[in-house]
Amino acid sequence: MNPFASRLGVVALAAAIVAAVLVDSTLFTVEQTEQALITQFGRPVRLITQPGLHAKIPFVQTVIPFDKRLLALELPGEEVLLGDQRRLIVDCFTLYRITDPLKYYQAVGALQNAVQGRMNSIVSSALRRVLGNNKLLDVLSADRERIMSTIRTQVNGEMASFGVAIEDVRIRRADLPPENTQAVLQRMQSERQRVAAEARAEGAAAATRIRADADRERTVLLANARAQADQLRGEGEATAIHSYADAYGKDPQFYSVWRTLEAYRDSLTSNQTQLVLTPGDAILQYLQAPPAPPGPSAGQPAVTGQK
């Protein structure tokens, strides 16, 4: 290589470096997720929302990128007094978007997270304000949506001067403080105990009722059966009485004699029976006098029966 060529090379190299530096400080990219504010000696001059390759005046202008996406801000749990004097630990998150980088830059500067400290206190106070007007049951119920949108509106109003739009404020957790939690747990426990006792008592009551019903049914069944039995026996007796009356009515006198004698045979033929007779009694009449040829006269024996 000759010296001329080498000198030429050095110049070319220097030119290339200068060109590169110029290009680098002139051209810049704006990402799809970004928007950029161009400042000239610190004074905002231009806003670029279109992503892609852009140019600025080198060295004089500076590019400050801002996120264009939805940004989340978590607010740590804090204790809030509700409208019904109950306490609730609420943590929520806020989704916001930088809509006006110029205002944003003027209000809090270039830092992405600079606004979050301010927003924290604004969301927190809005949260206390809105929840302070609502009862615990409202916060738990379907009213939660309305409460959250009220908070969002209030925060939005206050954050407008920061060039920030609040897209959503959502209550993430809403829990009772530990001492109230303990109380709720105790209440749950006692309530469950009550339910358990009730279930057992109801079971016992049902069992007693079933047993009593069974006993009643048994009693009724037996009583009905006895009634029917008595009726049957009565029918039997009635039939018997009719038969007796029919038969014995044919010769009542004979029946009387025959049946009396039958009764003697049945009741006086035990060895417990003692009879005191006199020789003149009909059956013993021949003990005193021999039978006379004329027909006998039937007399009644004197009978003393004792069992």
């Binding site: 799809q32 119920s141 829990d175 426990q189 469950r192 358990a196 018997a240 038969s243 029946y255 003393t304």
Partner: protein, 363 residues
């Protein structure tokens, strides 16, 4: 794509013109010939070729390619081998669009969490996430798994910062909101599926409002229990229900035993009465028939039959009873007779010495 073809065609034309039709091997540059200028040119060409080749990239089957030119979105590409203009002109983002991601709320699965808290092996409870207030101001212990995937790669990449964390926050918020209007008892039992569906719907709706490009594919309720501190009394309620059921069953068993038995007893009583009735009637018929037969016989010889019956009967009676025959003329002896008390066994032999004829019959 036209960009790509065009560029390659231009590059090939350029190389051809330099080598006069010779093939340009972009791989290893040849050692510089004596003409150092040519070697330098080749080196430069090789660098350019490498730079151009750095634009090739592969999109895996579960990915989608999102190509940005100077930071601005230009196109999406499908799985396979693709080309983008090399840095710093274009670059590619490769979000996994078909992969299903899991968010665990109220618990953490997996190793490392150890056994510092109760629960199944490898599962750790996170009470500050899982304990929440129900609509009737009770506290429920709820573990939920949320499955989601990227439904729109560009929205996912460009609309929300840190979308994974936002999904979790939104899901948690939705769960608490849904549980906040559900009483504890249904939440633990029959409304579980409904709760999961509501949470999925609401989370999806909110994420759509954000334009997050995320689809909630499933919400699974892993556990819906009372808090550990009170779970014992909840179990006791179940035991109480079982106890009550058992008492009822026992009583039913008793009833099922007693009532049929009583029916049987009733049948027996009626049957007995029926029998007694028949017996009474039969007995009456027998007696009347007997009487009628006797009567018929008697009618044929009244006097003699009557006498015969009389005598036979008295014979039977006197044959069995203890008989004292006393002459009524001897009145003085009467008080001495041991009439009475059958309880005292009468002395078999000590008969009052009747003066007349006295016959003691003892059997």
């Amino acid at each position: 794509m036209p960009d790509l073809d065009q560029l390659i065609a231009q590059a090939q034309a350029f190389v051809r013109s330099l080598f006069g039709g010779g093939g340009g091997r972009s791989g290893g540059p040849r050692p510089a010939r004596p003409g150092g200028r040519r070697g330098l040119t080749l080196l430069g060409l090789a660098v350019v070729a490498l730079w151009l080749a750095s634009g090739f990239y592969r999109v895996e089957p579960d990915q989608e390619g999102v190509v940005l030119r100077f930071g601005a979105f230009t196109r999406t590409t499908l799985p396979g081998l693709n080309y983008h203009l090399p840095w710093p002109i274009e670059r590619v983002e490769l979000p996994a669009v078909t992969r299903v991601n899991l968010i665990e709320i109220g618990y953490r699965n997996g190793p490392g969490s150890g056994s510092d808290a109760g629960g199944a092996a490898g599962t750790r409870d996170v009470p500050q996430e899982s304990l929440m207030l129900t609509g009737d101001e009770n506290i429920i212990d709820l573990d939920v798994a949320v499955l989601w995937r990227v439904s729109n790669a560009t929205s996912y990449l460009f609309n929300v910062r840190n979308p994974d964390a936002v999904v979790k926050a939104v899901a948690e918020s939705s769960i608490r909101e849904v549980i906040g209007r559900t009483p504890i008892q249904p939440a633990m039992t029959e409304r579980r599926a409904q709760i999961a569906a509501d949470v999925q719907k609401q989370t999806q709706q909110i994420l759509d409002n954000y334009g997050a490009g995320i689809e909630i594919t499933q919400v699974q309720i892993q556990k819906a229990d009372p808090p550990d501190a009170v779970i014992e009394s909840f179990r006791d309620v179940q035991r109480a229900n079982t106890d009550a059921e058992r008492l009822r069953n026992e009583a039913d068993a008793y009833a099922n035993n007693v009532v049929p038995r009583a029916r049987g007893d009733a049948s027996r009583i009626i049957a007995e009465a029926e029998g007694a009735k028949q017996a009474t009637i039969a007995s009456a018929q027998g007696q009347t028939k007997r009487f009628l037969s006797v009567l018929a016989a008697y009618d044929q010889a009244k006097d003699i039959t009557l006498t015969r019956i009389y005598i036979e009967t008295l014979q039977d009676v006197l044959g069995h009873a203890r008989v004292t025959v006393l002459d009524d003329k001897l009145k003085g002896v009467l008080p001495l007779l041991p009439l009475g008390n059958s309880a005292l066994p009468p002395p078999p032999t000590a008969k009052p010495p009747a003066q007349g004829t006295a016959t003691g019959v003892t059997q």
